[in-house]
């Protein structure tokens, strides 16, 4: 199979370039990550992140033939040749396919991704009814791989001010949680023209999410709650 991979080592390269590789591999039953690890045996300078190799850790997010996804759960047989691999767009490149996720996690931290509850901790757990727990489905599964946020033009334009789809999905995960007591503060925090309202419903996030989550829907629910609070 033919590959074209984005290469950049800031210590030795003046500018990024695309390097061609050829790999004698039978695509059936293999994932893109398998091919990348075989390529790394050919050329050990090729750099990428990976860990769980089964779509749970979110480390090997990259731009695959122009579309963000996880290399470990992308079947090789589904890819058109030459397979073009680039780092996630919109973030600074550290080396080859590795990007600096600092800005992404800064936005994630800004929505306070933890339960705020000032009641004394109960003996066992803070309980929820099955119906209340149901609201967290489709929200808690996010693995923070960054595919959605780095596919979002609003984030490319304002990465320092727009929270991005991954952060907003998590914001709604805590707004929707009946055990959380900071709902109003959370809504206040997002009610400015940048943090949430830079979302123009482009829906690249929904298109690329490897876990098939729907940040646009979560953003819509946050807007609904803001309106219900206002009127």
């Amino acid at each position: 199979m033919k590959f074209r991979i984005y290469r950049y080592n800031p210590e030795t390269d003046a500018a990024p370039y695309m390097q061609s590789y050829e790999l004698p591999v039978e695509p059936a039953g293999k994932m893109l990550l398998d091919a990348l690890l075989l390529l790394k045996e050919q050329d050990d300078s090729l750099s990428l992140r990976k860990s769980c190799r089964e779509g749970v850790c979110g480390s090997d997010a990259m731009n695959i033939n122009g579309r963000n996804g996880l290399a470990c759960i992308t079947p090789l047989s589904s890819l058109k040749e030459p397979v073009e691999l680039r780092p996630l767009p919109g973030l600074p490149v550290i080396r080859d396919l590795i990007v600096d996720m600092t800005q992404f996690f800064k936005q994630y931290h800004s929505i306070k991704p933890y339960l705020v509850n000032n009641d004394p901790p109960p003996e066992t757990e803070r309980l929820q009814s099955p119906a209340q727990r149901e609201h967290l489905n489709g929200l808690y599964e996010c693995i923070l791989c960054g595919c959605c946020t780095t596919a979002c033009p609003s984030f490319w334009w304002n990465p320092d001010k727009f929270v991005g789809p991954a952060g907003l999905l998590q914001a709604y995960r805590f707004i929707a949680d009946t055990r959380d007591q900071a709902t109003s503060e959370r809504l206040d925090d997002l009610e400015d023209p940048y943090r949430l309202f830079r979302c123009h419903t482009i829906m690249n996030c929904v298109d690329v999410c490897p876990k098939e989550l729907n940040p646009t829907e979560a953003i819509g629910h946050i807007k609904d709650m803001m309106i219900r609070r206002m009127v």
């Binding site: 334009w157 304002n158 320092d160 001010k161 997002l190 400015d192 940048y194 943090r195 807007k223 803001m226």
Partner: protein
């Protein structure tokens, strides 16, 4: 002055909502005008003056135009927010856009009631 990233101006929801409401007004206006032209394909001078002689038509036409200008203001502001980073230049562009849209509003009143 320290140059820190500042967010938190609380008009995001209001402007987003106004943009939706003005869009509905414009959609209703456009469909109504389309319907009128479908029923009266060639209104001519008399047809148009006859239509706008009615006070509710004028009032709705003004509502349509004000919706258009307000909608345009939010759209223009969004574009400026994306592409013009220095706060001073941005403020000047915002003021110019607002003044132009206010002038258009006055002009629209003059056209609608001066016929």
């Amino acid at each position: 002055m320290v140059n820190r990233v500042v967010v938190g101006a609380h008009y995001g929801l209001r402007d987003w909502l106004i943009q939706r409401v003005t869009a509905v007004v414009m959609a209703v206006g456009s469909l109504s005008l389309g319907g009128y032209l479908w029923l009266h394909p060639h209104p001519g001078y008399d047809g148009w003056t006859g239509l706008f002689a009615s006070a509710p038509v004028r009032a709705f036409a003004l509502l349509f135009l004000i919706s258009l200008y307000y909608h345009a203001w939010i759209g223009m502001r969004d574009i400026v927010m994306d592409y013009v980073k220095p706060a001073g230049v941005r403020l000047v562009i915002h003021v110019l856009v607002i003044l132009a849209l206010l002038l258009y509003t006055i002009w629209s009143v003059q056209i609608l009631w001066g016929m």
